[in-house]
């Protein structure tokens, strides 16, 4: 049914025809209609209920190596044509350029959520918050504050271009954040946990909500007895799940083709080389159903795919968007993403993870005489030109004589991507993924990160204890 398309095919053809009229090589229209809600609870009060709708279109025109872009919230034919004219102002050729191929039948990718968020009464979201709040508070008097939020995002997109592509996707994401403060003689400590997936309201099953609230409360209470983290180089055992952010920062950004084509990445021109320990097989996969970075198509209309980046330590490929792939005469890998219709797409990760090996987590810990066990990580940051990165430990413990012992206060880990990849000396069989938000050049997109429990022979821990 045409009305499901956000925009009629004849309007799309008319806009694309205007966009290429000055001799452009390529033109694209991206239409988005996103509805989101957030509900927060603090100290048992339902405080903020927010609804947002973001609807508009962006027109992109490429001529040679130049991209012109304009966006508008006015989806009338007149509004879209004005955007097309603004975007094509970069193209000044009098002739040549692309011929627009009329868009074909739309490839429609349906929503995979079971319960669409807009069908859920606000009271049911508040019930989830109250349930999580009760569970967090059941951990006792040390939990002095509980702050929660529940959010959902229902994003419909349409991408059409002068090559005849017409494709749509409906991405639904849901998230619960629980944040606890524990107070006592040693000050305040925080614990945080997130339940998030590319899914609808069905995500909030009671047992998963309980697990999330329990994790946040337990983390805050544990940290009350934490001692200052050590300072220096130590073996690091990373628990499964969000530890994958290490690979996201340590090498993921450096494998994005924009940094490769501009040769600003240390991984440029290194396909076929050994860049990591042979235990490292790193994959970016937008098709992982339900994971936070899952998509049917990227924001340029390319289907999501599974891309092996590093196989047994050898660099096999990079991640590509339309512009970089075209420059190199190859196909996009489905990694062209943008935050909203107001942004140009660029090369972004989807779900990035380290594949499993044979060891068990217990073996790895038992084999570590002294080190740091990182149970939860905050975010990280990398300089792709040097590979230097940091990431924060939000829950960590000492390992002494092969056993996990004292909890440690928050501290950052610093390292260098290539160096750390070479230091992976054990990888377990307990794969897990976790949700995150990745920022790049001012745009935020949802990504998944994953890995099994693994060990690094050494990394710099930035604590204050000698």
């Amino acid at each position: 049914m045409a009305t499901d398309l956000l925009l009629e095919p004849d309007v799309i053809d008319a806009v694309l025809a205007v966009a290429v009229a000055n001799g452009a090589d390529f033109a694209e229209i991206f239409v988005e209609d996103t509805r989101s809600t957030t509900t927060t609870m603090d100290q048992r009060r339902v405080e903020d209920l927010m609804s947002n709708r973001s609807r508009g279109a962006g027109v992109r025109v490429i001529v040679g190596s130049t991209t012109g872009y304009a966006h508008t919230a006015d989806l009338s034919l007149a509004g879209l044509l004005a955007a097309a004219e603004a975007a094509r102002s970069v193209a000044q050729r009098q002739s040549g350029g692309a011929t627009v191929v009329a868009v074909g039948a739309a490839q429609v990718h349906a929503m995979r959520a079971e319960i669409e968020p807009s069908s859920v009464d606000r009271a049911r979201r508040i019930e989830v918050l109250r349930a999580a709040d009760d569970i967090a508070r059941s951990h006792g008097g040390a939990i002095s504050q509980v702050q929660l939020s529940i959010a959902d995002n229902s994003r419909r997109i349409l991408v059409a271009n002068s090559l005849g592509l017409l494709s749509t996707d409906h991405q639904v994401r849901s998230r619960l954040n629980v944040s606890c403060v524990a107070s006592g003689d040693t000050g305040m400590q925080t614990g945080r946990a997130t339940l998030a997936a590319t899914a609808g309201f069905e995500l909030f099953a009671p047992e998963r909500v309980a697990e999330t609230a329990n994790n946040a409360a337990r983390q805050a209470i544990t940290k009350m007895s934490a001692r200052p983290a050590p300072s220096g180089d130590f073996p690091i055992v990373l628990a499964n799940g969000f530890g994958g952010v290490l690979f996201h920062e340590a090498c993921g950004h450096g494998l994005e083709a924009d940094a490769i084509v501009k040769k600003t990445s240390i991984y440029a021109d290194r396909v076929g080389e050994l860049v990591a320990s042979e235990l490292v097989t790193l994959v970016d996969d937008g098709t992982c159903d339900g994971e936070w970075g899952a998509i049917a198509i990227d924001d340029e209309g390319a289907p999501a795919s599974r891309n092996v980046l590093i196989e047994n330590g050898v660099l096999t490929d990079y991640m590509w968007d339309y512009v970089r792939a075209t420059q190199e005469g190859r196909a996009s890998s489905g990694n062209g993403r943008r935050q909203t219709y107001q942004d140009l797409p660029m090369v972004r990760m989807t779900n990035t993870f380290l594949e499993t090996r044979d060891a068990t987590p217990d073996q790895i810990i038992a084999d570590t005489p002294y080190g740091v066990y990182v149970a939860a990580l905050g975010g990280g940051q990398v300089d792709t030109s040097t590979g230097d990165f940091v990431f924060g430990m939000t829950e960590a413990y000492l390992i002494e004589n092969g056993e996990i012992t004292a909890p440690l206060r928050e501290a950052n880990l610093v390292g260098n991507g290539p160096d750390v990849l070479a230091r992976v000396d054990a990888v377990a069989n307990d794969f897990a993924m976790a949700p995150g938000t990745c920022g790049k050049w001012g745009q935020q997109v949802p990504v998944g990160s994953g890995q099994p429990t693994m060990r690094l022979t050494g990394m710099t821990v930035g604590g204050t204890a000698a």
Partner: protein
């Protein structure tokens, strides 16, 4: 009267019965040019708008608030947002402290944030400036191997805040900046550095300043090694000092204080910083790029002393956090129902960067911070971040260092401030910056 003001008044006027309505409408346009390898890589020209509405329902045990927003200003979108905000409010918990701002008789400062020269540059001039920025950065030093992006941006924005309680204000501003990311290369090693020039109009920007900044920041890091692990004095330059002040500011938010999430709670009147440390939040100071005549609720901006000669003197509040604390708003509502500092500046000291380096003698200069969002906890005060910078030996800048962390706690760092520079730099964002030296920092490297 502007169209957006008319729209805001019309919607605020729909409040009825036990209901109050507050409407914020913003509109703006921006131009963004990125140069790469001698040609225009990206050119974006866009207009955008935002409509956000809060509906407050008065009830027997207090008020409830619901919020909605949309990026389109057509009647249908606006009506949908109003309906959603009303619906959202019904599900909130009644709270005796919730209220919208009422006009408080404080006159907004007369500050003009619109440059009369904003339209002086043509599109071709803007493109040329971005191209020139890339050329100047590449040509300025033989070791610059790549310029990732050389960007010119300017914007013009207007916003109105109108409420059914009599708030009715309109503000406008213009702004422009140049930014360039350079990569220096020598002996098989890359180092990156960013340069910036900021103003209220494109004609105020300096290609040379931005290029020189990027060249110095990237080339000075060539040959960087791990710093020796030690406990020493860290000298934050104006940019990293600005980041540090922004981090500390979260603990000065009255909202964080009343919610028990600030390590400053209950400490007004106590010594919390070195004697030389005087911090004010002053969005009325036109030199600050975050200056604005009114806050996010439409109340007049004002100068608020936070820490004076090392003593904690107060916090910043919006209407609701002030009611919870039993005081009055300080004009510190941010957009989106958040309270916080708006335009921080530190009282300048007497010495410049070089003089402070000489006084410090031995230490480390902090040129960039990494992992601030993960390594600093403004509730507990734990501080551990990755840095790049230069060692200080014999009062001089020495070898560059990388893959280094510095750690302390925010509480201790404020007390350990040993020097504040006179070299104030007006940066975009929350805090102006100047050199700050802090002793007894744990440095972890090799």
């Amino acid at each position: 009267m502007s169209e957006i003001r008319e729209l805001a008044r019309r919607i605020a006027g729909e409040a009825s019965g036990n209901e109050q309505i507050e409407v914020v409408v913003a509109s703006g346009s921006d131009t963004n040019v990125t140069a790469y390898q001698g040609s225009v890589e990206k050119f974006t020209s866009a207009t955008s708008a935002g409509f956000s509405i809060r509906v407050l329902l008065d009830g027997p045990s207090g008020a409830r608030i619901g919020t909605a927003s949309t990026g389109a200003l057509d009647d249908e979108s606006v009506a949908e947002a109003l309906a959603q905000a009303r619906d959202n409010a019904r599900f909130a918990t009644e709270d005796e402290f919730l209220a919208f701002a009422r006009p408080d008789g404080v006159a907004a400062p007369e500050i003009d944030l619109v440059s009369p020269h904003f339209d002086a540059l043509s599109t071709a001039d803007k493109i040329e400036m971005a191209l020139e920025l890339e050329r100047a950065t590449r040509a300025g030093d033989g070791r610059i191997r790549q310029v990732q992006a050389a960007t010119y941006v300017d914007y013009r924005s207007a916003s109105v805040i109108v409420s059914s309680l009599g708030i009715d204000v309109e503000t406008a501003e213009t702004g422009a900046y140049l930014s360039v990311a350079a990569i220096a290369h020598e002996n098989g090693e890359n180092q990156s550095g960013y340069g910036l020039s900021v103003g209220r109009a494109g004609s105020e920007l300096s290609v040379e300043t931005a290029a020189r900044d990027a060249i110095r920041r990237s080339t000075e890091m060539l040959g960087a090694v791990k710093a020796p692990s030690t406990r020493t004095t860290a000298v934050f330059d104006s940019r990293t000092a600005s980041e540090l002040l922004s981090i500390i500011s979260s603990a000065l938010s009255g909202d964080m204080v009343v919610r028990g999430r600030s390590f400053f709670a209950g400490r007004v009147g106590e010594k919390v910083a070195a004697d030389a440390f005087t911090l004010v939040d002053d969005p009325t100071d036109i030199r600050h790029f975050a200056a604005s005549p009114v806050d996010g609720e439409g109340l007049a901006s004002r100068r608020n002393a936070l820490i004076t000669d090392g003593t904690l003197t107060g916090f910043v509040y919006d209407t609701v956090s002030a009611r919870r604390a039993g005081t009055a708003s300080t004009g510190n509502a941010l957009r989106g129902g958040v309270t916080g500092c708006r335009a921080l500046q530190l009282l300048p000291g007497t010495d410049d960067f070089d003089a402070i380096i000489r006084q410090v003698g031995e230490g480390i200069v902090v040129r960039s911070l990494r992992g601030v969002h993960s390594g600093v906890n403004p509730i507990s005060g734990d501080f551990s971040v990755g840095i790049t910078g230069r060692m200080i030996r014999d009062g001089q800048l020495a070898e560059p260092v990388r893959e280094v962390t510095i750690a302390s706690s925010l509480q201790k760092m404020l007390l350990d401030v040993v020097a504040i520079g006179n070299d104030i730099e007006w940066l975009p964002g929350l805090a102006a910056g100047q050199t700050i030296a802090i002793s007894d920092i744990t440095v972890t490297g090799s």
